[in-house]
Amino acid sequence: MFIRGTLSEDAEKAGPLALPPGADRRMAKIQRATCQSMYAALNKTGTTSLDAIYSATALGCLEDTERFLDEITGPSTSLRSPLPFMRSTHNTMAGQLALLLKVHGPNITYSQSLFGFHAVLLNALLHLEEEPSHTVAAFAADERTDLANALVQANAPGTVLGEGVASFILGGTAKAGDVVRITRVEQRMITDAELENIIEEERISSVFFATWPSDAMIQKLTSNILVERYEVATGNHGAQTALALGNVVDRFASHAISDPCMILDQVGERSGIIVVAPC
């Protein structure tokens, strides 16, 4: 499937689509950020209608979850505002976009720590295989709070919780202006040997790692492959792979790389791989 146009995370070109005034009055910070990101992607690619929205979030709307938890565990017995609860459901961002853009097609939200976005891409791939003329939106969003970060530290000292949003418009057929296509998405236990096979099969010439693998693996690969750690400046979170993808897309667009590349996430024995090739 094809990633429409080029996208960098701070692009915000004024385009035909904009949030109607007052539309964000009930939005939490993460919802606003997601809307801004998606609208930027839509405008940058000249997309005015979508056939589906696929999203990933590892922790959802933390601010609202904490707000509601604080309230219900606190001494107050007064009536509760429904907004924090409503916004705490993980599909609230994707639902909000469907509402604003009147998208009646499939709307699925995945939540699986660092691997949610892989499921998003897989679902998009399945959709576009079946309907090549369709256009779908894919995004990942996660936010951090001080409390969540403190709890993450308590369980995994040294791990810093981050936040970010990245959005993509995907199509089943190539369009002028498309720079890259995604040819493979997997998430499972993959042995080193299998990984090497995939790298050979897909003619991968560069690999981006989010989580740095073993030295042995690096040595095996670096002999003929560019291996790099993608800097997730803001720490670990469920949107980091999506941000890395945006980074890779930019590199293709600027011709910094021109051969197939793999984004590799390894957590324990599990790997998530995304193969990105030029159009």
Binding site: G22, R25, R26, S78, L79, R80, S81, P82, L83, M86
Partner: protein
């Protein structure tokens, strides 16, 4: 209750509605006492009714027994103020 108190109550309510429902760009002056709060007018919806019920409880200690009553009570700032005065 004196006329001054009624006016203050209505003005307070307008300010609370704006802040509680995050109606950025709205001023107290732009909300007339009799302005319909739903559909045309302020354009509020069913979630806003729930929020206003919470507002009434929190700020005035007045509870609405049945949310279906909500539409009548929350027709305008004037009806809200009347309900509060009657039940405070």
């Amino acid at each position: 209750m004196s006329t001054d108190n009624i006016t203050t109550l209505r003005q307070d309510l307008k300010a609370q509605i704006i802040s509680h429902l995050n109606l950025e760009g709205r001023t107290v002056e732009s909300i007339a006492d009799d302005m319909p709060l739903f559909d045309e007018g302020l354009g509020l919806d069913s979630i806003d009714v729930l929020e206003l019920i919470v507002l009434m409880d929190k700020h005035y200690g007045v509870r609405i027994a049945d949310p279906k009553q909500g539409r009548e009570v929350f027709q305008s700032v004037a009806t809200m103020a009347d309900h509060i005065q009657a039940n405070r």
